[in-house]
């Protein structure tokens, strides 16, 4: 029982990281842009959030927790939006190939974050901020109410923010005119254009805001999940790819991202908890194999949705394609 609880307590924060990544990417892909730069963007967001908090705490005479949190959120969002803008400019304005641009952005984001990370680390192996405590603050009172309280209320505020964001995104995409227009852009930009929708503006906005949301996943990883420690590692990259896989797994539905991300979290930690739970041990080299399970599940979903051929579960029809009005 304890193992199970520990498993869930591990899976939900893990899921939250990729939920942010996936929600942002869903928004982006709904506009027809396949941004494979999610890992890079999460790096940018994570680093910008960390660095701003770290520098503020180390320079201000009397740093306030509230200001630090807002600053970190804003900086993470802004840095990720810049990543999204680079991608948008290249793919929408210059009509560069989306896959190549996305992969380049991943490399770029990783490089920038790690380069300035070395500067911040300044010879140390890891650096810590103070505000991780604010990020990790559990809901007072409720989280102390036994196991259910711990399981439901025992996380930092960004876990709940992610759920709220998923619901908002769902309502936005299905119930609002702007959401309808955005989906139209991703399905058939020529039609959207002929309907008087500004395709370029929608693509830019969705991609940049989507990148901003994805970047929050990086912020959450560094300042909560990783307890405010910056260390130059490749961990965020793996999480970024998982986020992209999650978008496919959820068949582009934000609401499914809530349970989907937690499921991914459970599957990801399968290697540590399942053997304990079942009472057998697994050699180290097998754990990497087990960590692949989320990807395997994603492939299974792809196969199933492809076989069922339900149009609603297919990716946006023009995903990955640049739009040029006068092309015939």
């Amino acid at each position: 029982m304890d193992t199970l609880i520990a498993w869930i307590l591990r899976a939900i924060p893990f899921g939250t990281i990729i939920m942010y990544g996936a929600l942002g990417e869903t928004l982006t892909q709904k506009s027809g842009n396949l941004n494979l730069g999610v890992p890079g963007i999460m790096y940018l967001g994570g680093f910008a959030g960390f660095a701003s908090a770290y520098l503020y705490e180390n320079t201000a005479a009397n740093p306030s927790a509230f200001v630090t949190v807002v600053l970190a959120l804003c900086c993470a969002f802004a840095a990720s939006v810049i990543g999204g803008m680079i991608y948008s400019f290249l793919t929408i304005t210059l009509r560069a190939n989306q896959n190549v641009t996305g992969l380049a952005l991943t490399t770029f984001g990783m490089g920038v974050a790690n380069f300035f990370g070395v500067y911040i680390l300044d010879g140390r192996t890891a650096t810590q901020t103070m505000i991780y405590k604010t990020f990790q603050t559990k809901i007072p009172g409720l989280s102390a109410m036994g196991v259910p309280g711990q399981l439901i209320f025992g996380y930092g505020f960004m876990v709940y923010a992610a759920i709220v964001l998923a619901v908002i995104l769902h309502i936005f995409l299905t119930r609002t005119r702007t959401g309808l227009n955005l989906r139209a852009v991703g399905e058939n930009p020529a039609t959207a254009d002929a309907s008087g929708i500004n395709v370029t503006r929608y693509k830019y906005a969705a991609t940049c805001i989507g990148a901003g949301i994805s970047g929050l996943g990086g912020l959450y990883y560094v300042l909560d999940y990783n307890q405010g420690i910056w260390a130059t590692t490749g961990q965020i990259e793996a999480l970024g790819w998982l986020a992209v896989a999650l978008v496919i797994f959820t068949t582009w539905k934000p609401l499914s991202a809530i349970w989907g991300s937690y499921l991914f979290g459970i599957l990801y930690w399968l290697y540590q908890f399942l053997p304990t739970l079942m009472g057998f041990s697994v050699p180290g080299y097998v754990t990497d194999l087990i960590q692949m399970v989320p990807y395997v599940v994603t492939i299974a979903v792809l196969i199933i949705t492809s076989l069922r051929k339900k149009r609603e579960n297919q990716p946006p029809a023009s995903l990955g394609l640049a739009y040029f009005r006068e092309e015939r």
């Binding site: 005119r177 989906r183 058939n188 039609t191 008087g196 006068e326």
Partner: protein
């Protein structure tokens, strides 16, 4: 008199190709104007400028007497202009109502129920027949078109442009569409309809404006017009209406198809025990209502289609019937080629199966010749030569042989494709809807090319839809009906009526009694 919309001296060019040159025309309120012209005469381009897809290089547009600046489809909507494109601008995964909601003004409340109610009212007013909750991907072509028109009317379109609306409709659906258009005209809407079909022009429109090679050729009242007078205005010179049909020479068996059956992925038998023979120096027509197995028949012969067991297609290289006959079934196009069988195929889907749209004429020529020679580098000289030759001899209108073929008009694309296929000196030439969407002059060029090949001793299989052409061009005509060989008739003695009957009514002894 005030016009609903008036164009003055409009010019638009793409690269070095002039799509419209100094075009002026006007539409009155409450009238149906037909816009007539050959393929590539600039009709669609002109209409795209009214609907804001393109912007004219020079010239002015007046809407209700006031100068209008139409820079985007949004501007067009604001001026009450709506266009139904040939390729529908609909989102497949959306319902009809959602598609209508897409075009709404920002300040109108987003309430799908209210939108549906208003759309229903419009449908009732003009007698449109459509389910507003249906997803577009579940709709038939005619329903999609209806939705497009409802969409435009919902947005308050006063001027409606229809780009070849009847091309995709059955005669019954066309009648329904025309009835709706007449209702709209009675309601004071102005309608511009682009079409090739002269009898439709005469039956639906009040006036006809004609474009010729991108230039305005005149406007006539429909009452005063006849098919002959319109054709003359359209082509600019008298077109020889008789297609020549030389007598077959050196006729011998080339292709023997026996018991050919094809079952498609859905388990439907689309071809049923088709048997026929094709002879060299002869054009064998294949008639039938579209979708009765023509595509599968040609693809089966070309090695592109899986066929049922016991199907047989035997190829005879020369008069000697038995010695070198080759079975083509079960072989890929490449192995058929390697056997020395020159089978040329001009498919229906020109830019999908026939040519690669984003590649130039030269590269498209190379698609057939890249395997020639022994060098590790492909020979580019020969295809370049061939491309030049085709451009010259067939009069392909293109800025250069290095321009992607998708930028050419439909007729020019077809010239490139047919030119390439006959350059190969085929022994069997199969064409599917070779003249579909082509203007009269280009069509004649194609007929002429086919006759040339025929006289060279090629066995030609010509899948066509225009019965007049089939009767005039072909030596024998096989009629497909519901995947059956419904009879083979002599092109010289048959009548359109006979063909029409064979196409629509399945005979008892299907299997081709008449050889």
């Amino acid at each position: 008199m005030e016009y609903a919309i008036e164009l003055r001296h409009i010019t638009k060019t793409f690269g070095r190709v002039v799509a419209n040159h100094n075009v002026s025309l006007a539409v009155r309120q409450g009238e149906i104007l037909s816009l007539l012209g050959e393929n590539g005469s600039g009709k669609t381009t002109l209409m795209n400028m009214i609907s804001g897809i393109y912007y004219p290089d020079s010239g002015e547009i007046f809407v209700k007497g006031k100068p209008a600046e139409i820079r985007s489809p949004k501007d067009a909507y604001a001026l009450g202009i709506g266009m139904v494109h040939q390729h529908f601008k609909l989102i497949d995964v959306f319902t009809a109502v959602e598609n209508i909601a897409l075009v709404l003004d920002k300040h109108e409340k987003y309430d799908l129920k209210a939108i549906k109610a208003r759309a229903r009212a419009i449908c009732d007013k003009y007698a449109f027949d459509i389910d507003l909750d249906q997803k577009v991907y579940e709709m038939s072509v005619s329903q999609k078109q209806t939705l497009e028109i409802v969409k435009m009317l919902y947005r308050g379109a006063e001027i409606l442009i229809l780009d070849e609306p009847t091309a995709v409709l059955t005669p019954q659906e066309t009648d329904k569409l025309f009835a709706v258009l007449r209702n709209m005209r009675a309601d004071g809407k102005s309608i511009i309809i682009i079409t090739h079909k002269l009898h439709e022009v005469l039956s639906i429109s009040d006036r006809v404006s004609i474009l010729r090679k991108g230039e305005y050729a005149g406007t006539v009242d429909t009452d005063m017009a006849t098919e002959a007078s319109l054709t003359e205005l359209m082509v600019g010179k008298k077109v020889e209406l008789n297609i020549e049909r030389p007598e077959p020479v050196n006729r011998h068996l080339r292709l023997s198809v026996h018991n050919l059956s094809v079952t498609n992925a859905e388990g439907v038998r689309v071809l049923n025990n088709i048997s026929f023979e094709a002879f060299s120096g002869e054009i064998l027509g294949i008639a039938g209502i579209s979708g009765n197995g023509q595509k599968e028949l040609l693809e089966a012969i070309a090695g592109l289609q899986n066929v049922d067991p016991d199907s047989s297609v035997v190829y005879f290289p020369d008069d000697d019937r038995d010695s070198t006959a080759e079975q083509l079934i079960g072989k890929t196009p490449k192995s058929i080629r390697d056997m020395g069988v020159h089978l040329s195929f001009v498919p229906e889907d020109r830019l999908g199966m026939g040519l690669v749209g984003s590649m130039s004429m030269v590269d498209n020529m190379m698609l057939k010749s890249y395997g020639n020679g022994h060098s590790i580098f492909a020979d580019r000289k020969a295809p370049r030569h061939l491309a030049e030759e085709i451009k010259e001899s067939l009069g392909v209108v293109t800025p250069s042989i290095n321009t992607p073929v998708s930028r050419l008009s439909g007729g020019n694309v077809q010239k490139v494709l047919v030119g390439r296929e006959i350059a190969d000196a085929p022994s069997v030439l199969m064409t599917a809807y070779a003249v579909r969407g082509l203007d009269i002059n280009t069509s004649y060029t194609i007929y002429h090319l086919l006759n040339e090949q025929k006289q060279k001793g090629v066995a030609i299989i010509y899948v066509g839809e225009d019965l007049d052409v089939l009767v005039d061009l072909c030596d024998r005509i096989l009629v497909l009906c519901d995947g059956h060989n419904n009879g083979i008739v002599d092109g010289r003695t048959t009548t359109k009526e006979e063909l029409g009957l064979l196409m629509t009514a399945l005979q008892e002894n299907k299997g081709g009694a008449a050889r």
